[in-house]
């Protein structure tokens, strides 16, 4: 089914945590920062989408969220 237009809040949290765990996103706790277009979240999302061969949108679309929900290894995908 088409993904809901607005990513649910818990998905936002999941995206943030996933990128902190596996794509060395710094958690500076800055809510405003997260909303900005070229925020590090967007850059790290693109990095994750490229790693998994997904469409590189910088947005947490359904395909991207689906991969993030899959059980996986705890080692980061990019060098610390």
């Amino acid at each position: 089914f088409p993904a809901p237009s607005k990513t649910q809040d818990q998905d936002v949290e999941m995206v943030q945590k996933y990128l902190e765990n596996y794509y060395t996103l710094k958690n500076d706790g800055n809510q405003i920062e997260r909303k900005r277009k070229n925020s590090p979240v967007v850059e790290k999302l693109k990095q994750m989408q490229e790693f998994f061969g997904l469409k590189i949108t910088g947005k947490p679309d359904a395909e991207t969220l689906n991969v993030m929900k899959q059980p996986r290894c705890g080692v980061p995908d990019v060098a610390q």
Binding site: F52, V67, C73, V75
Partner: protein, 367 residues
Amino acid sequence: FVLTEGHPQWEKTHLTYRIENYTPDMSHADVDSAIEKAFQLWSNVTPLKFTKVFEGQADIMISFQSGDHHDNSPFEGPGGNLAHAFQPGPGIGGDVHFDEDERWTNDLRNYNLYRVAAHELGHSLGLSHSTDIGALMYPTYFFNGDVQLSQDDVNGIQAIYGPSPDSTQPIAPVTPQACDSKLTFDAITTIRGEVMFFKDKFYMRINFFYPEVELNFISVFWPRLPNTLEAAYELAYRDEIRFFKGNKYWAAQGQNMLRGYPKDIYTSFGFPKTVKNIDAAVSEEDTGKTYFFVADKYWRYDEYKRTMDKGYPKMIAHDFPGIGNKVDAVFKKDGFFYFFHGTRQYKFDPKTKRVLTLLKANSWFKC
């Protein structure tokens, strides 16, 4: 494959490992066996040898931990992060931690310890995550019953330690690349308006709202299908897909495998016993006729009457001029047949019985 940053590696080829504690989910013997088999995968293709010790500090310490276990990466409860391992080095280097909040098994249920251990030991030896979905070192968990190093994994570990001194190295599967000009297919079928290509244990899928070619394991959709299918076709009016290998075939509706399969092609379709397998198959929705291609001949089967039409088999070259004598795969779309043989694809018009275009087999992937 990716070598861990800084290329850490063990300077010796004889390494020790110790299982510090055991999960209550499995017997000690099953845990020992899973870990031993996981080490064997890597020692089979390198000069490395692993010896199990029962006390003291081993090079690779293996343990089951929960939550924050005082290394730099706490576990977060069931699901998500299953395990982690540290790169080669002293102390915690090489160690493997499994999340005890997961259920560990030695079968198909989540999560198979042998499968996860095989991945984590790749980290213990100096590998990072691979972007090859067919590689053991791919980050996400997937298990369909067999655990083997892919060629990508072998290339990675041998880039660090070199090959095994024993010349007999196991054949490692290679993940197909959509834009490899030498790509060939085992089988192809339409499915609910899409086209699905099969190669070894993978499917490749194109759908028109998503430009990237989707590549994943066939068993993601149909866990009980064998690898390396030989033919497949869609029976649209029954919303069925039929998969062929050897003299057997399976049927599915969407992702649901239909009960009572596999059946044999002799009883179901009336093939003579001289036919050992089907090379390719395609069904015409408007006529209910299914064409089966076997070596240089083809049969036509009537899906409504459920009998083979009279006068068959006939020569492929006679009724499908220009496509050669052998077919690997075929599907029908927008009134045209697309025949595949090796890296060639023939767009064939059944009305005029002419080949309209000669294409590369992977032309649908817009490389």
